[in-house]
């Protein structure tokens, strides 16, 4: 089991390109024309989005047990 994470965006780095949303296997990310959004309940902590971002705008914060 991967460590449970919350994916966070650095808005100053993000270009809203939608790439992370495209590679996410569970639709846990939505990228609109003006906003990056994350849905914790859908995330399976696979980190695919984090390595795919071309500029390193995403990171994973460890989630405590029960969070």
């Amino acid at each position: 089991m991967p460590e449970k994470i919350r994916v966070v965006v650095n808005e100053d780095r993000c270009y809203l390109c939608g790439g992370c949303a495209g590679v996410c296997p569970t639709l846990a990310i939505n990228v609109s024309a003006s906003r990056w959004e994350f849905f914790q309940e859908k995330c399976i902590s696979c980190r695919i989005c984090i390595s795919a971002c071309p500029v390193g705008a995403l990171s994973g914060e460890p989630l405590g047990v029960g969070e």
Partner: protein, 393 residues
């Protein structure tokens, strides 16, 4: 709102479908989440000359930056392979204008077009997708349609919400990063491509000239790489003493380079372009592929509507897989083998191939190139290289 067809996404694939279906007399709505269709661009803007005639797109100077006469390939140790035609073989577009004009052609053909309209979900009725929920300038809108087209690019949210499986593993995507910048010292009549495992793992660095001294300078690498695309491009610029001080734009994107979607139509929903992962896995170009898929899809949408038989949409899946799908599967096989090449292999191959072979690469005749390589003494002496190349035949 009710239309015969709603198309989500006004990149390349969407407007082609919207235009063709509207031309046949059906009511079409084309929506895009961007406030200005085409902006920001996520593209190096290179496309072959053949597409204008083939897909009935005017050769309009408003979206053509520059005509291109060939390509130059650079190996990790600096060997070069040049291919130059007498006539222009491709162009560097201005996609901000191009995408918008494609949407304009769709509108002229009769389609309605709404920018700043984001599809947020599908509407399901009786187990079937009856339309989409969207947001236009923060106002919710419901759009009902007989056929729903997901042309929503790499995100493919609407295709997935409609139940089409567009999943591809992370290795089947490239991460891309690009500067539109002032750059000198490269022949502006050619596109330039640099290969090497340290330069651009799995991919390449490109310079696509838009002017004598202005170009899209970018990179694509495997998206499951521990480093970012930006890291590799900045490193390449530094190592080549190219100052990154005159940056006009920064463009970012993820490109599907494999994992073509098996089921392109499900009931009354069809998926086209990047959303269907219809991109050339070798070079990551997807505009021509999006136009081709859009053309096939629109043909079957029109037939399905004319004959009031939605099951005819399945013929889009069938036709695409028998034609472009078959071709791209072969290209994917080549990509998988080229991933195993070392820098020495790349040096050798670029060293021994001549312009006749480059011509074959450009036309997608990889078989001919492999046969030429297999004849070379340095290749014959290496059982590993022979094995790799044989995998491709």
């Amino acid at each position: 709102m009710k239309y015969d067809v709603v198309v989500v996404g006004a990149g390349i694939a969407g407007p082609i479908v919207a235009r063709n279906v509207a031309k046949a007399g059906f009511s079409v709505l084309l929506i895009d989440k961007k406030p200005a269709i085409g902006t920001p661009k996520q593209c190096a803007e290179g496309i072959s000359m053949t597409v204008f005639k083939k897909y009935d797109i005017p050769y309009d100077r408003r979206y053509i930056n520059r005509e291109i006469y060939g390509a130059k390939l650079y190996s990790p140790s600096g060997y070069e392979l040049e291919l130059r035609y007498k006539e222009a073989s491709g162009v560097i577009l201005e996609r901000k204008v191009f995408d918008k004009m494609l949407a304009y052609y769709a509108a002229k053909a009769g389609a309605d077009v709404l920018a700043r309209t984001e599809a947020v979900d599908v509407i399901k009725k009786g187990g079937r997708v009856a339309g989409i929920k969207a947001k236009h300038e923060d106002e919710p809108v419901e759009i009902y349609a007989d056929v729903i087209v997901a042309a929503d690019g790499v995100e493919s949210k609407i295709a997935r919400k409609a139940g089409i499986n567009t999943y591809a593993p992370p290795h089947e995507f490239d991460s891309s990063y690009e500067y539109e910048m002032l750059i000198e010292g490269f022949d502006p009549d050619l596109i330039h491509l640099w290969f090497g495992n340290e330069v651009a793992p799995r991919g390449y660095v490109w310079v696509f000239p838009k002017d004598e001294d202005r170009a899209n300078v970018g990179i694509g690498i495997n998206s499951d790489n521990p480093q970012t695309a930006k890291y590799y491009l900045d490193k390449w610029l530094k190592e080549n003493n190219i100052p990154a001080k005159k940056l006009l734009e920064i463009n970012v994107g993820v490109v599907p380079v494999g994992g073509f979607v098996k089921e392109l139509a499900k009931d009354n929903v069809v998926v086209v372009g990047d959303a269907a992962r219809q991109v050339n896995p070798m070079h990551g170009g997807g505009m021509a592929e999006a136009m081709e898929a859009g053309t096939i899809a629109s043909k079957w949408i029109v037939k399905a509507l004319e004959e009031e038989n939605i099951s005819l949409l399945q013929n889009y899946t069938k036709e695409w897989w028998e034609t472009d799908g078959k071709r791209l599967e072969k290209v994917l096989k080549v990509r998988k083998v080229t991933e195993k090449l070392t820098d020495e292999d790349l040096d050798l191959f670029i060293q021994v191939l001549g312009s006749a072979d480059a011509e074959k690469i450009a036309s997608g005749n990889y078989g001919g190139v492999i046969k030429a390589l297999l004849k070379h003494p340095k290749v014959i002496l290496s059982p590993r290289r022979i094995k790799l190349l044989r995998e491709l035949l």
